[in-house]
């Protein structure tokens, strides 16, 4: 059984159908990439998986480890191990990163019936993670994403992912707005997160990220459907020929 199973998923936003029947399976230990032009439904898919308000599922099902995700609240999904790396991480002024993450980690631990971390335990835990991921935990002393550069925001997302240890990580355009050094750092983080117990879904416009994080499977999302799937070489083909071929198919 695949870790993530999406079958015939349809969803609409403001009454307009965006996802038009998506089928996708990701096994534990695999990294899949979803590519596609603007407006094809990539971000919508990430929000539907994480349960954001305003994204209405009109058909199909999504199972994580056999459990029906679609009946769960967003926080429940998060506690079950769904992590969304945001395309535009949100600023929360006045809330130190440590406080934010500690609240999140303890919520998840509580859900799993584990004991909550106290302040000291948590600091130790986070320091260990930051070291493992070759990142400084300095940014956790600052308010969540406030005044962060684009690169810092994305690194912060990766650090949060590392700390929360999700089963399924959905990374929405984690590469956007990054210079090459930041991209490498983020890619290293994502690679470190690869694990036999974890599935990852990377949403991206470009081949660039896939040079550093090599996916097992690439899917092309177009017009709310997956129109093509293939091995990593598919990315190169797309890079060369663009998405025009699908416009023709669609027409």
């Amino acid at each position: 059984m695949a870790l993530l199973e999406i079958r015939g998923l349809r969803a609409e936003v403001d009454g307009q159908e965006i996802l038009k029947g998506i089928d996708l399976e990701i096994d534990s230990g695999q990294v899949h990439a979803i590519m596609g032009p603007n407006g094809s439904g990539k971000s919508t898919l990430s929000y539907v998986l994480s349960g954001r308000d305003g994204y209405e599922v009109t058909g199909g099902e999504v199972l994580l480890d056999g459990k029906d995700l679609l009946v769960m609240d967003p926080e429940e999904r998060a506690c079950e191990g769904v992590f969304l790396g945001f395309q535009y991480p949100v600023e929360i002024p006045g809330v130190p990163g440590t406080t934010f993450l500690k609240t999140a980690v303890n919520a998840v631990r509580r859900y799993r019936g584990e004991s909550e971390f106290d302040a000291m335990q948590f600091v130790k835990f986070v320091r260990g993670k930051a070291k493992e991921f070759n990142m400084s935990d300095d940014m956790l002393k600052r308010s969540v994403n406030s005044g962060f550069s684009g690169g810092e925001k994305k690194r912060n997302e990766v650090l949060q992912m590392a700390v929360l240890e999700p089963r399924l990580a959905v990374l929405d355009e984690t590469d956007s707005g990054l210079d090459i050094d930041a991209l490498k750092l983020v890619a290293d983080g994502v690679n470190t997160m690869r694990s036999p117990d974890r599935a990852m879904l990377m949403i991206t416009h470009y081949q660039r990220l896939l040079d550093y994080v090599v996916p097992d499977v690439i899917h092309v999302l177009f017009g709310g459907q997956i129109v093509k799937s293939g091995p990593k070489e598919l990315a190169l083909e797309l890079e060369k020929e663009g998405y025009y071929q699908f416009f023709e198919t669609a027409a």
Binding site: P74, E75, A78, G94, V95, T99, F100, S143
Partner: protein, 484 residues
């Protein structure tokens, strides 16, 4: 002065005409319902007050009769029936209180639980009759001895009237004159008790003083009167209130707090107010009509107000600073949270009189449910206040779409060298922020508490450490049920 027996007789004879009767026992613990000159005399007699104080009370009472209710605040309530209250009740006998926590409202206990308040303290707060050998009493006694070593006077104001009448007579009413406003006037006439603090010259008070540690804390919350005097070069930090809701049956609270800072002295006054706010439909709840004012009399003196206001059905409160001394500093840090049907009209006045005086105002208002909230502030620069400076920042946060937030800043500058800055923002908790937190596993309530605490951080940081952690939890509890 001895008890005026004649007055007591007068009161007793008057009781027959009271519909609800005169609740009294051999020791005369209760005055009859309602307010009259006799009641004022009765209170003063009960406290064996000197003549000047009785006269002062009576002047206040007669003035009160003629004063109109302040009508400028943006709050609404039905007229207060002053004759429907008791103005004097001696401390309740422990036998009247609940016998154990099992008899206390479970909702109250739930809140204590969430605030992480130790069991012993829960009992005290809920008014449970506790053993005479009670931890905090012995702690308080130890504290008291330590304070007295340094010449610090920290006692109830009634005790101070007996112990150091000159100080009380010199300073009481010198910052908030009895006729300042109708509520302060009422307080002056009928106040029953409160705290008194005197810090001698050059003494830095070695601990946070708190009403909480005043032994024999009497049931005097309704018309409380506090006077704090910091003599030259001294420092004191005073904590008022408690994050835990107190059991309280009085609806109207009209307290007066006066602070006096002499040359080079500093007073830091922190409040956490969490009285019963009424139910979700706005039934019940405390009317909190407080007059708080500090006078920076001396050069280089400083007064800093920090308040976390989460309770009460109506809050009407403007802790202010009169900056008389040259180079004196006034600060006001405020978080006010209103939920459900609560109303708050709160802010400050900074009156710059001396040269190079400076003031800072940071106000954070959070409104949820169908609550209404107003920041009302006055920065006044007098002609001689050359080089005066003020910085004001008022931020409002709205949760939901049925609440209101208003900012009414008055600035009056009569000196051209003054610098006055005002910034104001109004924001809503964004759906983006909320979803971001939920996606990391937090519940909606945790998320709101986190975001709001972030919004209030600048003010929270001003609180003494031991208060800050509880205050953060309190923010979350106050906003429960505000989202979703």
């Amino acid at each position: 002065m001895v008890v005026n027996t004649q007055t007591i007789e007068q009161v007793q004879s008057a009781t027959e005409s009271y519909k609800y009767g005169f609740v009294t026992d051999i020791e005369m613990d209760h005055a009859p319902k309602g307010l009259s000159e006799d009641i004022v005399r009765f209170i003063s007699a009960k406290k064996e007050e000197p003549e000047w104080l009785l006269e002062w009370r009576l002047k206040a009472y007669h003035r009160w009769l003629t004063m109109p209710e302040p009508a400028w605040a943006k709050v609404s309530h039905s007229p207060i029936d002053y004759q429907d209250s008791y103005y004097y009740a001696a401390p309740k006998s422990p036998d009247d209180g609940p016998k154990s926590l099992d008899e206390v409202d479970p909702k109250l206990l739930e809140t204590y639980e969430k605030l992480g308040i130790p069991l012993k303290e829960q009992e005290m707060l809920a008014g449970v009759a506790v053993d005479a050998v009670f931890d905090s009493v012995s702690v308080a006694t130890t504290y008291k001895a330590k304070l007295e070593e340094q010449g610090i006077i920290f006692c109830s104001i009634s005790e101070a009237v007996q112990r150091c009448p000159k100080l009380v007579q010199q300073y009481m009413g010198s910052v908030v004159p009895y006729a300042d406003n109708k509520h302060s006037c009422l307080n002056s006439a009928v106040y029953t008790d409160g705290s008194f603090v005197y810090i001698p010259k050059g003494v830095r008070c070695p601990m946070e003083l708190s009403t909480y540690f005043r032994i024999n804390a009497e049931n005097t919350g309704q018309f409380e009167r506090t006077l704090i005097i910091a003599d030259e070069g001294s420092y004191v930090s005073y904590l008022e209130g408690c994050t835990a809701p107190m059991r309280d049956e009085n609806q109207l609270h009209a307290a007066v707090v006066e602070l006096v800072a002499l040359d080079d002295a500093e007073i830091k006054y922190s409040t956490v107010q969490n009285w019963y706010p009424g139910d979700e439909e706005g039934r019940g709840g405390i009317y909190n009509f407080v007059t708080k004012r500090g006078a920076c009399r001396g050069r280089n003196s400083k007064i800093s107000w920090t308040q976390i206001e989460t309770g009460s059905a109506i809050t009407w409160k403007y802790p202010s600073c009169i900056l008389e001394g040259d180079n004196s500093v006034g600060e006001f840090y405020s978080v006010a949270i209103t939920n459900n049907r609560q109303q708050a009209d709160t802010g400050t006045k900074m009156i710059h009189i001396g040269r190079n005086t400076s003031s800072t105002i940071i106000s954070k208002g959070i409104s949820a449910g169908r609550a209404d909230q107003t920041y009302r502030g006055l920065v006044k620069i007098m002609p001689k206040a050359s080089g005066a400076r003020n910085y004001t920042q008022c931020d409002s946060l709205l949760i939901g779409d049925e609440c209101g937030a208003h900012t009414v800043p008055y600035i009056e500058s009569r000196n051209t060298s003054a610098k006055v800055e005002h910034e104001a923002t109004t924001a809503k908790i964004s759906e983006d922020q909320l979803f971001y937190c939920l996606q990391r596993g937090m519940s909606e309530e945790e998320a709101v508490a986190l975001i709001v605490n972030g919004f209030c951080r600048e003010v929270m940081q001003q609180l003494p450490m031991e208060f800050a952690v509880e205050a953060q939890k309190l923010v979350g509890i106050s906003l429960e049920g505000s989202v979703g």
